[in-house]
């Protein structure tokens, strides 16, 4: 029974494509990762489809200095969505096909034009929302934007800069509240 389940799982997770990349030298994660190269197995899309989705994500939210590995998280999420939801898989596959064969390698103005043509459609609307939601939740994108995230494990921002803005006047205590003096 156990081995049959494992076999089914292997079938379920059959690799249909792969995305690969290299973390930038001196980038935030290259120092921590065991190797600089990364690979993402795809289970619903071919490598070409994956590359088109990655290029679409980069066109929707273009940050030149943000590594491909962050955008690959969007493709990973779309791949998982497609595996769970057959109609969505069709929508994604057809949407990618509508972008044309050369989309992933086209110039940015060409990619923008291709996406504008399908902007009103379901594929773009869903993939845009997925891109923004997933991309900006990745540790890579958050570090890139400077977002410091949860602070509970560090004792909050109370002693870590919640009120360190100095380019505007301070708020009188009557309109705010007592603050801990530094070193107190």
């Amino acid at each position: 029974m156990k081995s049959r389940k494992a076999a089914e799982r292997r079938e379920f997770l059959k690799t249909t494509g792969v995305l690969t990349g290299i973390l930038a030298v001196g980038g935030q994660f290259a120092l921590l990762a065991p190797t600089r190269s990364w690979a993402l197995d795809l289970h619903a899309f071919t490598s070409e489809q994956g590359e088109a989705l990655l290029a679409a994500a980069r066109t929707i939210a273009p940050h030149d200095a943000l590594e491909d590995a962050a955008y690959a998280a969007v493709v990973h999420a779309a791949d998982a969505d497609a595996l769970r939801d057959a109609p969505l898989r069709t929508s994604l596959t057809e949407g990618v096909a509508a972008l044309g064969a050369g989309f992933a390698r086209a110039s940015e103005p060409e990619r923008v034009a291709a996406l504008k043509r399908i902007e009103a459609g379901e594929f773009f609307q869903r993939y845009r929302a997925r891109t923004l939601g997933v991309l900006y939740s990745t540790p890579l994108a958050q570090a890139f934007l400077g977002y410091e995230g949860e602070a509970f494990t560090k004792g909050g921002y109370l002693l870590r800069g919640f009120n360190d803005l100095r380019w505007l006047p301070d708020v009188p205590e009557a309109d705010a509240g007592p603050t801990l003096k530094s070193g107190a």
Binding site: A141, N163, D164
Partner: protein, 523 residues
């Protein structure tokens, strides 16, 4: 913690464990009554609250589908999620930001103050303001609201410094870090706010008041509370005398259970409260419980909301610190010369990057939107919360298109914005733009239309005349003596204030009333 028998017809069944239901359960149990508290969600804790925003959202949010229609932007932007509510022990008090301004006297007399307004169904609250105010003060003391009763205010965050500079330069006078049910000092067995900025993900220090770790454990300590989690109420039953006598619910395994009841208090938030009353239709009550006036589900209000983001050329780090510790009260006036009746607050707000781009920025993609995100460190944000006008046609009905996992129709939410709401939003946007420009913003952006509602009001409203509403001033339904409504559904009108403080105040008042009535054998 007690375990009451399903056949015990002496218990009070409270449906929903949020601000209204959680508070009521505590107040009734400490007065000696046996309470079964049904909560559709699971029980989290300070330790289990996730601090990953996406996971926290999934952990606390009511994700079962709803449907929506009407001219409001929500029907287009998030049709299956017209409201962002919690489904967890503590309800929306796990996820709220702790903002607790008081209703104004004139707001509770909306019909008298604003006069007859076309396409609006205004009434006055049936409670004398002085009486409501005394329970509001009781609620403030219980929730340790800042800047009230000697409680210190919370300190100014970077984000608030921007708001304060802009607001005071605009000439606003009542600008401060706000009234918040968030500890500015350790008290009530809970710590002080450590400026985590994760209020809505569940406050891991418990500095923010929630029934999850205040009212509910205290009710359990009486030995008279039976809290049943993952218990979804599906129907309230009644006897031949027309009085309610039992609640049907699905337990965690999906099995149907039937709890007998002496009286039933519904506190499922305005959408689910109205839905449950409508789902409980019977031969005697063919339009649903407490609905002889045909008012259940109508007059749905959700406040005029809007987010505004200012882009600066120096860092703000808006995510650091208490999410909503900032308030401008000056626009909470009734001055029809502004082009609308009623008032609105400006409130501080902050966003993680994913929430910012999805909820607070206008629709967009490509280089322009990315350039705003590139400036994430340099962004400040405010929002408006204003009174929307009730309309009989803005209402919760049972969906004809979608059913839940038990085969029951989900709530359908229809809203056509009143011209007054549209005029108020335009005024608020203008003021928020001017505020950020006064603080030196190089660009200002507004959210698209109205975001998913978090304040849900009016769908079983209190009325002096039974023809105008569903309950009397104690939340007791006009039609059925032992059926009570104990959440924001009972608000006669929306007012501008965030509703939780008033919901708690009304629950405290209702508990006293129920207790008196039970002792007098009236219930």
């Amino acid at each position: 913690m007690a375990s009451h028998s399903l056949k015990d017809d002496g218990v009070v069944v409270v449906i929903g464990s949020g601000a209204g239901g959680g508070t009521l359960a505590h107040e009734l149990t400490r007065r000696g009554m046996k309470v079964v508290l049904l909560e559709a969600g699971k029980r989290e804790s300070l330790a289990s609250f996730s601090q990953e925003p996406g996971a926290a959202f999934a952990q606390l949010t009511w994700l079962d589908p709803r449907t929506s229609s009407g001219t409001w932007a929500v029907a287009k932007n998030s049709p299956e999620m017209p409201a962002w509510l919690a489904k967890t022990v503590g309800g929306t008090t796990t996820h709220w930001s702790g903002v607790t301004p008081r209703l104004c006297d004139w707001e509770t007399q909306a019909r008298s103050t604003y006069g007859q307004i076309a396409d609006a169904s205004l009434i006055d609250w049936p409670i004398p303001y002085s009486e409501l105010a005394s329970y509001v003060e009781l609620a403030e003391r219980r929730m340790f609201v800042t800047r009230r009763h000697g409680m210190p205010g919370l300190p100014a965050t970077n984000n608030f410094k921007v708001m304060y500079a802009g607001a005071t330069r605009l000439g606003y006078h009542r600008v401060h870090t706000g009234y918040l049910a968030i500890n500015s000092q350790a008290q009530d067995g809970r710590g002080m706010c450590t400026q985590q900025g994760f209020c809505i993900q569940g406050c891991k220090t418990g500095a923010k008041w929630s029934t999850l770790y205040t009212e509910i454990p205290r009710a359990e300590a009486t030995g008279r509370l039976d809290l049943r989690i993952q218990a979804t109420a599906t129907r309230i039953e009644h006897g031949v005398d027309g009085q309610v006598n039992a609640v049907l619910y699905r337990d965690a395994a999906g099995q149907e259970q039937r709890q007998k009841a002496r009286l039933v208090c519904v506190a499922g938030n305005a959408l689910e409260t109205a839905r449950l009353l409508l789902l409980s239709e019977s031969a005697k009550y063919p339009h649903g419980l407490a609905n002889s006036s045909d008012q259940v589900g109508r007059h749905y209000c959700h406040h005029v909301l809007g987010f505004t983001v200012g882009v600066f050329d120096k860092p703000v780090y808006m995510w650091r610190g208490t999410s909503q510790a900032g308030l401008v009260e000056d626009e909470v006036i009734n001055d029809p010369k502004r082009g609308f009746v009623g008032g609105y607050y400006l409130q501080l707000v902050n966003f993680d990057p994913a929430a910012l781009v999805q909820a607070a920025l206008p629709y967009g993609w490509g280089r322009d939107q990315a350039s705003v995100m590139d400036n994430y460190r340099n962004l400040a944000a405010v929002m408006m919360v204003g009174e929307d006008l009730p309309r009989a046609t803005n209402r919760i009905t049972l969906s004809t298109a979608k059913k839940d996992s038990y085969g029951l129709p989900v709530a359908h939410v229809h809203v056509d914005e009143h011209v007054n709401d549209i005029a108020m939003r335009a005024h608020g946007r203008r003021q928020m733009s001017r505020l950020f420009e006064a603080a030196g913003a190089k660009r200002v952006l507004h959210s698209e239309g109205s975001p998913a509602a978090t304040h849900n009001l009016g769908t079983a409203r209190m009325s002096a005349d039974p023809r105008d509403g569903v309950t009397n001033s104690w939340g007791q339904t006009h039609d059925i003596r032992n059926l009570f409504i104990s959440d924001g559904s009972t608000f006669s009108t929306a007012a501008a204030a965030n509703p939780t403080l008033t919901i708690v105040a009304l629950a405290l008042r209702q508990a006293e009333y129920i207790s008196r009535q039970v002792q007098a054998h009236e219930l």
